[in-house]
Symmetry: C2
Subunit: 330 residues, 2 copies
């Protein structure tokens, strides 16, 4: 599937240059908030480690660009951007505990460096601190962010109860990733637009854009977990199959083969360290292409929604970010 | 140490009868909020299990009684009570993962029943959902609750980095329990008073009362972890020494013996399953009495602060609850 273009939007770097100064402010706020008030040196070191890891800052970027698309950016956008990234980081910390991830953002995970217990507690700290910063926003953005975070947790919880369930349908998978991942993208866009006094219709459009883009992001992420390069990705890959989580390509494959082959594939998945072998099977069956196409369809949906928004540099930047999602290799 | 009395206040049951209807409403709200919107049956079952476990509801009781002491109770008190209990439950879920607790509130823990991963995620869900409910409160109570939760996480984090540190001082221990435990008691009291339009002085007094009571509660809890009866406590005991966390009685003992004995005691603590033996040593050295006296001193401080508050049935009930803290055996 090829995405249609309605304007030349440039790459993701051009997109981010529009909000470079604001993204720097979000980063500075994040680092400054991740300091212990009365804790020990060890706690200080831990928080600094988490704050210094950096990241793609995709969710704050969406929040800021949605704000620009709706009006002017304010200090509250910077705060909300830091909140969203802090919540996202908290979920990554807990994901790495759950999946026993060893590398994240190119460096050893907190669970690897300090153990699972501190990683759980630092995640809790980030989550609580994010909501402390939320109390400085108005009620509506605070509500949107907390609702999305609850949805993220519910999605993660549903996914973990579906481990080993090789009968999971594509629809159930889409519901899970919508909850656990896309909902935070949608919230970022909605909050950005809301804080810039965007009208309800525009807020809804940008949230719908974020939701479709977030689904595409997660489908691509799950694909990279099967096919990506660990050094480029900067994180441990193969976690989904090692943890027996069915993702889209595998669901497609299992849905398109007879009982005997199905059993053989399940055995292959449940044996550890067979990522490359499985990936080749998925490739041959067209299941990787199917997942890629599904991600593209979601991005196309996101772009179609975006077309309803008034043309502006920020809209072009959102489009560029969306296109990049399915083209990325990390 | 004996606590002085300035009025006959009755037992904790009499105290709670003042707010029995409101506590029931908090319980109902908790149960009704712990339902999955779109999750699987398994998620539904998990949330129901967590919601149905019940608990002493001490923090909501403090919130409600502080509200009564300051003025009239409102729907927001019910909501805030459920929020505080939800946050407390989330920390218990994560504590049980970290300490490998097997029994809590008389029934098997979530980590024992479902494993660590779901227990971490249900804790995250409760935390996020609590902050979702917070967004329906005004900014100040939302801020107080989020600030206290962050402090709780920071205290837990500090404590875990101090595992095996047998040089921990009494002052450091008090700082840790103030953060990880007393701060939520203080927040409960402050929010209760604030929501009833209590004046700033009264809010400060009730928060200070909660802080002292919370410290006494945690000292007593740590004592019961060493000396209590598991059946009565309804939870796994001995977790602190099994996880090499120095608590007050042990800090006292280690601070009052020579190097050779110190080394022998450390060996005893670091060997698993020696709770009774250690408890006898602490008893003989007067360290259990020392911890009990320290808890009583904090309760006396709480009662002294309370004396500044206008006499009322709610004040008497708060006094009864405070006294009960150091007398409890579970």
């Amino acid at each position: 599937m090829t995405l249609t273009s309605h304007q030349h939007a440039g790459g993701p770097d051009v997109a981010l240059s529009l909000i470079a100064a604001e993204l720097d402010r979000v980063r500075d706020l994040l680092v400054s908030q991740l300091t212990s008030r009365g804790g020990t040196e060890e706690v200080e070191r831990l928080l600094k480690y988490v704050g210094g890891r950096g990241g793609k800052m995709l969710r704050p970027a969406l929040l800021l660009l949605s704000g620009l698309a709706a009006g002017a950016l304010t200090d509250k956008h910077i705060r909300a951007g830091a909140i969203i990234e802090m919540i996202h980081t908290a979920t990554l910390l807990h994901d790495d505990v759950i999946d026993d991830g060893q590398i994240r953002r190119g460096i050893p995970t907190v669970n690897r460096m300090w153990g699972n217990e501190p990683a759980v507690l630092v995640g809790d700290y980030l989550l609580s601190h994010a909501f402390y910063l939320c109390a400085g926003l108005d009620r509506e953005p605070a509500r949107i962010i907390a609702e999305a975070t609850t949805q993220v947790c519910e999605g993660e919880l549903t996914q973990i109860t579906q481990k080993h369930n090789w009968d999971l349908t594509e629809q159930q998978y889409i519901e899970i990733i919508t909850d656990k991942s896309a909902s935070l993208f949608a919230a970022a866009c909605r909050v950005g637009a809301h804080l810039a006094n965007g009208c309800p219709v525009l807020c809804d459009q940008l949230a719908a854009f974020g939701l479709s883009m977030g689904a595409a992001f997660q489908i691509t992420d799950d694909l990279l977990d099967l096919t990506g390069d660990e050094t480029r990705a900067g994180k441990t890959l193969g976690a989904d199959i090692d943890n027996d989580k069915p993702t889209l390509a595998l669901i497609h494959l299992l849905g398109h083969c007879d009982q005997a082959r199905r059993a053989a594939i399940q055995t292959l998945v449940e044996a550890d360290g067979r990522r490359e072998e499985l990936s080749a099977v998925l490739q041959a069956a067209g299941s990787l292409d199917y997942a890629r196409d599904t991600a593209c369809r979601h991005i196309q949906q996101a772009l179609d929604i975006l077309r309803q928004v008034r043309p502006a540099p920020a809209r072009g930047a959102l489009e560029a970010l969306a296109r990049h999602i399915v083209e990325r290799t990390q």
